[in-house]
Amino acid sequence: MLDEAGAGLDELAAVAPGAGLRWADGDGDGARSCRRTWLDTFDWRLYRAGLTLEQVTGDGAAGLTLTGRDGEELAAEQISPAGQSPRWPAKLDGLPAGPLRELLEPVVGVRALSPVARVTSRLTQRRALNSDAKIVARLGIERMSVTSPARAVAPPRLTLAAVRGYQAEADRLGAALTALSGVTPANGTALDAALAASGQRPGRTPGKASAVPLARDAPAATAMASIFAALFDVIEVNVGGAVRDIDSEFLHDLRVAVRWTRSGLKLGAIPGDLAVRFAPEFRWLGDLTTPARDLDVYLLGLPAMTASLEAGCAADLEPFRGHLERSRATAHRALTRGLRSARFGRLASGWRAELAAVRPQRKGGTVAQLADDRIGAANSRVLKAGRRITPSSPPERLHELRKRCKELRYLVEMFGSLHDPAVRWQAERELKSLQDCLGEFQDAQVQREEIGVFAAQMLAERSAPAPTLLAMGEIAACLARRQRQARSQFDARFAGFAGAPSQARLAALASAASA
């Protein structure tokens, strides 16, 4: 049982006699202090999965514990001596291999874990005795001083634990405790309490581009301005992590928000020359991020590629990995320069100021009308581009179709709050199935072309031993196979998308104004 106490702690003394018990003198095993640090990904993946990861440091030892929704311990890892604790933020490969890491992997993925709250905690204990002076229950009192995200003192947290075989006595004590004013059952974990004390709530980060709430009859111009503003929040919130290179998702999420913005600019709903002025700037921003992201994708896919080697072995690819990592470091430096440049600063301040000044346009229509019109048109363009594709079409036709699909997808997601979630979810799934096929096709082709470029670079640098080049050749062959496979799936995927049920759903999405 868990309680939080406000003012009631002074009245504790009277509680035990009320339950037919008395408190032992002193605080038993003595007071202890420890530091507690809670960790999560930037987008709160653990929290949203009902998991809590905590590092406790005290008495020269440190440990990591993962708990589930009901506070049950799922895995623990001792990090001793305390000096060996990972330097946060850290990705999972910075954690010792073991059950804890295995449980985290599917949830955390490629993201890094960072501290979301830190406290110094002082624990004292009171022991409740029966008439034989036997301990029947222990009351733990934890006082947390929050040091991050903001300095604060959390209300004391009480934990009542019955000694085995004395549940009835502990229940009486618990009832007497909750009868105290200021003591209420805790409705959350210690992390919740620490965050609440510093005025925050877990799980809230505008870290990813997503639908913003829109009223159907809102003027299109101001609705678009609010979408753009939310997207720019996402861009800005990810800049820090992308520059510090905490994990690859910061850059990815930043890019997605840029792409949504660029598609949004093409909708022609915001006034005057805004789109004309800012389209080149967002294009620049998008291009700035491309080299680093491409290399991220390569590096993330490398383990799978390595595993697929048949003639070569993992060690053969080490020089290639080294080359990729060096190239990535260079690309990342260029990215950092760009994100810290005056041009980016001007883009940010100028864009924000212009968005704030956007007013409804005369004859601009509602956002629902805009969404209907543009979704309908984007869908037609996808159908047109797709129907042109025959078995003998060059790859460029499929790349073209992929772009059209992306445009449609962004619109469906961007205006998501206007639509029935079930219909939208189904439509997105069908579109995604087609996109996955086209993505696989194009990515495999691009990566195959790139690996040729990498090989030439490595030869020029004399950093390419023969076994490495051979293994790279194997990867190129594997990519070619993947591309062929994706191509062979295309007809069925497109037919699914262009079929009546899927098109009926898109038609529904394109009629929000009349819904």
Partner: protein, 252 residues
Amino acid sequence: MKILATYNIKGGVGKTAAAVNLGYLAAADGYRVLLWDLDPQGAASYLFRIKPRVKGGGKAIIRGSKAIDGAIKGTDYDNLDLLPADFTYRNLDLLLGEAKRPTRRLATLLGPLKSEYDVVFLDCPPSISLLSESVLHAADLLLVPLIPTTLSVRTLDQLTDFVTGFNGHRPQVLAFFSMMDRRKRLHLQVASDLPAARSDVAVSAIPALSVIEQMSVQRAPIGAFAPRSVGARCYRELWLEARRRAALKPPA
């Protein structure tokens, strides 16, 4: 899980004092320990301030492990639980007699506790009975307190002969001198000669000490109220010897 039993057909020789103090020390080592007070007198229960009462009495206990689970009480010490005595344990012999395979009954009852405890101490009442036979069959190590006289050695030999006759599982025997009076020449002599001559007699001995008598006033193991006393040190040495003899793996 290892089962250690303090055993002697005589009363007042230090069985309970040993079970309580060694149980405390085992738990302090980090082992998960259960002490079962099998003596209807309930001396061990008293020392832990736990009422000698079990729901359903000995009958329920002998019948099944569910009653055992419900009757276990936590002591004031980490890792140390107690299965209390009950007045009805007087009839434990009769109850065992009605059970199937009475001499194996205790071992069967303790089986399900394997996952919960690393060490079980059985504190036996003084007697030769079906119960004590069942204890002998269940135990991995018998801790036999001896008052250092030549006579006590005879009882040890009888016990050793008896368990050697067991088929299958046989407990090891580790006798130790208890309530040794350093002022008595006979005590000193027996206590120094015997461990050298016999491997089933512990090197460590427990002298007669007032601090040990104090336990029943303090109602606590010595380690809890006089951790630096001679008595506490002697029990610690005895525990180290018993732990080695029982081949206990280091606690998890």
